[in-house]
Structures are given as structure tokens and as C-alpha cells.
């Protein structure tokens, strides 16, 4: 029994080593994460200036805008998530480790969420507070982003995996990803703007999309990586 536990420990250590390495590399290149956060804040400012001084109108449009910017920020990182490991041959050597690409995809989902979505999730309450969204809506916004951002990460990685062999038409990744995000944005904004009863229902739908994407996503990502490797 202890031998099985030891083997399991070594196996998970092996998978986690991929996540920890990716996080370490990105932490040494923090400018990329800062850039995404600054981009996020600047686009909010652009919308605030575009809407003008009408506070009521701002409060109506701001939540859909925040969610749209979140999707745009996810689109930016599409070409950064898997391409390095593909180009420097790391995906090739992962084949010989005995770890399935599905598990590697789960590790990548976890890392990408930590690196690119968590900072925005942390930033969100401050932004919402500064632009005077009421407390209940801030709470709802954070819940929808906490559930919705991992879904966006999965979609981003699917798009990123599909784009591995494509080095020219980089906008294609966003074109693949954005339609997938439509249900997420509908139910997330619906949950925030509707009353409490509908909030629970819409959160349940979001949760079902979350679990479905986590169940299907790793297989799709792994399939795309395998196809890219054989090319």
C-alpha cells in the first residue's frame, strides 16, 4: 500500500513540477502580467470617458463592459499559453514521461488561471469600489468572475492549442474563442443584473458550464496538441 502511495506521490510531483515551473518562469517575467492588468484598467477608463459624465448610464453599462474586457484580456494571452512549450520541443519530451496530455492540459488550465485571471479577480473589487458599484453587485460580480474566469481559461487554452501550428493569422485564435464565451457572458451578466431568485438559477447554469468545460476541455486541448506534434 505504501509503495502505491509513494508512486502516486511521485506521479503527482511530476505533474505539479510542470505547473510550478510555468509559474516560476512567468513570475520572472512579471511585466506581462502587469501589462494585462494595466490594459484592463485602461480599457475601463476608455469606456468611462466614452460614456461621459452620466453616472446612471455608467452604472448600467459598466458591468457588461467589465465582463467584455475580461474576455478581451483572455484573448490577449492566447498566443502565450502553449506556444513556448510547443516551439522549444517541451511538448515532444512530455510524451516520454508517461503523463497523459490530458493531465498536462489540466496543469496548464490551473497555471493559466493563476497567472492571467486571478490577478484580475483580485483587482476587480477595488475597481468596482472605485467606480461605485453597489455592494451586492460587487459580490455578485466577484462570484460570476470566480466561476466564469476558469471557463474563459479553458476556452483560451482550447483556442491556443488550435493555434499551435498557425504562426501567421494570430487573430484567428480570438475568432475561435469569442463565440464560445457568449453563453458565459449572457449568464454572468444576467446573474448580476437580475434579482436574487434568478441569480441562483443563472449561477447554477454557469456552474454547469464550468464543470462541462473542465470535463471536456482537457481532452480537446490534448487532442489539438497531439495533432500539432504530428505535423
Amino acid at each position: 500500500m505504501s509503495q502505491i502511495n509513494k508512486n502516486l506521490f511521485i506521479f503527482f510531483k511530476s505533474i505539479l513540477s510542470i505547473s510550478f515551473r510555468d509559474i516560476k518562469i512567468q513570475f520572472r517575467n512579471m511585466s506581462y502580467i502587469y501589462s494585462i492588468m494595466i490594459f484592463f484598467i485602461m480599457i475601463i477608463l476608455i469606456f468611462i470617458f466614452a460614456i461621459g459624465p452620466d453616472e446612471e448610464q455608467l452604472k448600467v453599462y459598466l458591468i457588461p463592459i467589465l465582463w467584455s474586457i475580461l474576455i478581451l484580456c483572455s484573448c490577449i494571452s492566447i498566443n502565450n499559453l502553449l506556444k513556448d512549450d510547443y516551439l522549444d520541443g517541451n511538448f515532444g519530451i512530455y510524451q516520454f514521461t508517461g503523463i497523459s496530455f490530458e493531465l498536462i492540459a489540466i496543469s496548464k488550465i490551473f497555471t493559466s488561471w493563476i497567472l492571467y485571471q486571478l490577478p484580475i479577480l483580485i483587482l476587480m473589487p477595488f475597481i468596482a469600489f472605485i467606480i461605485e458599484i453597489n455592494e451586492t453587485k460587487i459580490f455578485h460580480l466577484i462570484i460570476t468572475i470566480a466561476i466564469g474566469s476558469p471557463i474563459l481559461t479553458v476556452f483560451t487554452l482550447i483556442s491556443s492549442a488550435m493555434m499551435l501550428t498557425n504562426s501567421k493569422n494570430l487573430i484567428l485564435g480570438s475568432i475561435i474563442m469569442i463565440p464560445l464565451c457568449i453563453p458565459v457572458i449572457i449568464f454572468s451578466i444576467g446573474a448580476i443584473t437580475n434579482d436574487q431568485e434568478l441569480f441562483t438559477a443563472q449561477i447554477n447554469i454557469l456552474l454547469s458550464i464550468f464543470f462541462a468545460s473542465l470535463a471536456i476541455g482537457p481532452w480537446v486541448i490534448s487532442g489539438c496538441i497531439k495533432i500539432a506534434l504530428k505535423n
Binding site: I25, G89, I93, F96, K230
Partner: protein
Amino acid sequence: MILASNISCKRGNNLIFENLNFKIEDGVATIISGKNGSGKTSLLRILANLLKPKKGDIIWKGKSIYKNIDEYHKELTYIADINCSKENLSVYENMKFWKNLYKSSISNDLFLKLLSNIDLDNYINERVKNLSSGQKRKLELTRLIIEERHTWILDEPFLGLDQHSVSIIGQTISDHLKQKGTVILSSHIPVNITNKTYIDLDLHESN
């Protein structure tokens, strides 16, 4: 022992080679030679199952590798012609990552000995991006020892190495062969390996 049976390779519209048959024996280094574009890298990638041949089969332990792929992969170390070490990590961090990834039993003392043998011991905490191309290649080749595998597939392993390093890697390959390991490599640089055989792809060139 690995047997290649009637392998053909097509890249785009070009048939690179066809009906290639050969045998790779344990304890003998198989050196794949040929001019540029003759398909050396493609053949090595086919042997590592990173590329599907247009037709033909690779037989290992009496079975097609495609029917026994997981076991076959666990026997392989593949060193590509590009380095897979991460530029923003140090030499030690890259080696530690490979150790964990391949569940290797190699100790830290052996790490240091290994680095000392290839003159990288002074660079252990240096980031890979600050190393020369030869040093990066030497770091890549430490995977041969770290991964502890039976079959080594090496694509231009001596690229950018000085003569001293070439002879050290040649000696490492010879030691592996003495332990009945399998080595398949392509190289334009002559190397002193005791027991070797050649596959000349120019003789199998398809027109």
C-alpha cells in the same frame, strides 16, 4: 532491438525516403548519415513516434510500437536539434525539473558531478539565457543521464560543442553502449564511439 520495416516518409509533397529497412541493435550506436534534407531528423522523429511514417512499421520487442506506445515511450530519451531548457530558469532549476518530470532517482551529488564533468559547475545558478550555445547544448545533454532511459535518440547532439565536450559525450555514449543501451544519432561531426554502424539515407533517396 528495434526493427524498421518498409518505412516511407513524406513531407508536404516530397517523398523524402521510401521502403527503408534496418535493424538497431542494443550495444551498438546507429549513426544516421546523409546530406541536408535527406530525412535524418524525420527518421529520428519517426523512431521517437513524434512523426507518423507514410507507410511502414517500427517493431520493438516483437510488436509494433504503435500497439505498445506507452511502454516504448518509457524507454526513450529524445534530444532534438533544438534545446528544450527554459531560458528564464537557472541550470540547476532546469535539471531539477527534468529530474521531477522523469521521476529520476539521480541524487544532487550526481548533479554536481555531472555539471563538473561538462564544465558547467560554475554556472549552476546562472540563468540559461546567459549561457553560450555550446553550454546550452551541454545542459540539454545532461538529460541523457538524468532521465535514466535505455534508448537514446539524438538529433545532432554535438551541435556547437568544442572538441573536448564532443569526446566527453562520445565517451558517455560508449559507456551507455557497454551497458547494452541503444543509441541512435545523427551527426555531421565525426565522433569517437567504439561500437557503431551507419544508415546512409543518401542511398535510400527517393526521386
